[in-house]
Amino acid sequence: MKLKPLLVLPLVSVLVLFTIFGYVLVRGIDPRAVPSALTGDSLPDFKLSNLDDGKQFITRSDIVGQPMLVNIWATWCGSCKYEHPVLNSLAATGVRIIGINYKDERNLALKWLSEYADPYEVNVFDPNGDLGFDLGVTGAPETFFVDSNGQVHYRYQGPITDTIWQTQLKAIFDEMV
């Protein structure tokens, strides 16, 4: 039987689709991963109160200057508690961490910091999540890698663990320093 090219066309197109879907399936692309609009961009401006002192305001220029991690956290967030010791040990090795207390209550947050130690150089109090919204935060914890010019290099969603820091994140941070 002579093979008609036009009759083979459906088979070929199905095979092509099969290859594409198979590739995505095998590669294991995470459908939960949301790209960050801020990566490669400048940290947005803000003016919010200091967690320690409600009368003192913090702006973007107060925190930008040296490479840092900007960590979104809250006392209502379970995985933040899991992440907290890792942040403590990172701060002990000299990593500069700025905290953004996200949609939280001041007294609860201060209690948390006195109980579980405070890895943050300073904490921005963001009770309504306004700064979080401008950062494109979808939940806590989230960590932004910001260089000395205030440029965001990377955004990590979810709790940082020792393994993830050693295998992926440390290299990204060291690149900024």
Partner: protein
């Protein structure tokens, strides 16, 4: 009232309780309400899988709804609100893609496929028609004519 009637009413009330979890909003006009419904329906919840912002109870969806509501009442256009969300949450946050060099294919490819399908269909039918005409030789045509006349 029988006990199962009471139970039935309790169950129904419980159900209304569960589904009334979204906030109650008042709009300045019906036009704003319609735009709000349409926008929140098109926004995709960044935290949940396969849910739009109007449908989701995730805190971030609540924030997006609230921001949409505020911006609508401040007089921003739909496009400005969409841009505002995309600036913060990338194209991920919209179900209806914006026209750009990357997404233009979404409009071009279906049109191209449709046209090429039509062309294939036309050529195939044309070929079949001409092929059938060619199979009838002169002798056969005469025989056919004779047969037809015989019948009548």
């Amino acid at each position: 009232m029988k006990w199962f009637n009471v139970l039935f009413i309790l169950v129904v009330l419980q159900a209304t309780n569960v589904f009334a979890a979204t906030e109650i909003l008042t709009f300045d006009s019906d036009e704003l309400r319609n735009r709000y419904t349409e926008l929140t329906f098109q926004f995709r919840c960044p935290k949940c899988q396969n849910q739009n912002v109007a449908d989701s109870n995730a805190p971030i969806s609540l924030d997006i709804r609230q921001k949409t509501y505020e911006m609508l009442h401040q007089g921003y256009s739909d496009q400005e609100i969409v841009d505002f969300m995309v600036d913060r949450y990338t194209e991920f946050v919209i179900y209806k893609p914006q026209m750009s060099i990357v997404t233009i294919w979404l409009w071009i490819v279906p049109a191209v496929l449709l046209i090429s399908g039509l062309i294939i269909l036309l050529t195939l039918t044309r070929r079949r028609v001409s092929a059938e005409e060619a199979t009838l030789s002169e002798d056969e045509a005469l025989r056919l004519k004779a047969l037809m006349e015989d019948k009548s």
